[in-house]
């Protein structure tokens, strides 16, 4: 067994460092979105497009996927194979539902005439939420890979740190969405008024 000077497994330390860099990336994207908010000179504008009830449902789905993820880790740590498989699969499925919602939202916006370069809102919105969506997609692939390992009985408790690292990534994706949901969707009512 590997022993580290920090008491934290190297994979976990690496993931936290990566998450730190991701904070700065999403911070920059969010700052760009805020700087150009309400600066569009042609429509359609965000107040006309954003569907708060719909996005609230997909937000709830992503929050619950975080619960499934942490339950999956707990199951792996206990050596509960059935629980590991179930919760890893549920996490991936909820992530896919969230992605489906984003695809629906983007296609609806495009149908309403909001192309990528239509106005400043379109550019900053698609870039920020699209980048987040890409992270969710990577997470879903990672989760399905872990689920496959669990199906083949290759996720014993000794390998729980593998699931913990994936969980850190997944929860970070959730945390980013918590911020994006508030700033992009809910605060549009405050600044747009």
């Amino acid at each position: 067994m590997e022993r580290t000077s920090t008491g934290v497994p190297n994979e976990k330390m690496l993931m936290w460092t990566f998450i730190g860099s991701e904070c700065m990336l999403f911070g920059s994207l969010l700052a760009t979105f805020l700087v150009y908010r309400d600066q569009s000179i042609v429509g359609p504008y965000e107040e006309e497009l954003l569907n708060i009830p719909f996005i609230t449902v997909t937000t709830f789905v992503l929050l619950m996927s975080s619960l499934m993820m942490v339950l999956a880790l707990s199951a792996v740590q206990r050596g509960d194979l059935r629980g590991s498989r179930l919760f890893l699969l549920l996490t991936a499925v909820l992530g896919l539902i969230f992605l489906g919602g984003q695809v629906y939202e983007f296609s609806h916006f495009a149908h309403e005439g909001l192309g990528l370069s239509r106005n400043l809102f379109a550019g900053t919105f698609y870039l920020t939420t699209g980048f987040h969506g890409a992270h969710v997609a990577v997470g879903v692939i990672w989760l399905l890979t872990l689920w496959t390992l669990a199906l083949r009985r290759r996720l014993p408790p000794e390998k729980s740190v593998t699931v913990e690292v994936a969980g850190l990534y997944w929860h970070f994706v959730d945390v980013v969405w918590i911020v994006l949901f508030t700033v992009i969707y809910l605060m549009s009512g405050a600044t747009g008024a």
Partner: protein
């Protein structure tokens, strides 16, 4: 959940004491019951955020209210689901860049006259 196990003990989900792959004994994590309770709180806060969004009387204080609720959700997920509450060794790795990210946001917004 009772099911197939790897034979290293199952079922006990209360305040699981984890044994890392590196062999170090780590702080106990929260129980499954705590995780479910936190998920419920997260759901309730999200519902409250949306309710507040639709209350016209709160339009003037909408931003601070939303920021507080969002920060609460943020802290709950990072503290419990990401186990930062229990992993003191990596807190700096997260909060350092988070502070830099916050500074980037404020600096960019100031640079482009957002606060004027």
């Amino acid at each position: 959940m009772v099911g197939e196990t790897h034979g290293t003990g199952g079922g006990g989900s209360e305040a699981a004491v984890t044994q890392g792959a590196h062999g170090a004994h780590m702080e106990p994590h929260a129980s499954n019951r705590t995780y479910i309770a936190i998920a419920l709180v997260l759901g309730v806060i999200t519902a409250l955020e949306v309710m507040v969004f639709y209350v016209e009387a709160l339009a003037g204080v909408l931003v601070p209210i939303l920021l507080v609720m969002s920060a609460t959700k943020f802290v709950l997920v990072v503290g419990f689901y990401m186990h930062l509450k229990y992993d003191a060794n990596v807190r700096g790795l997260f909060f350092g860049p988070l502070m830099i990210a916050t500074a980037i946001i404020v600096a960019l917004m100031a640079l482009y006259g957002y606060f004027l």
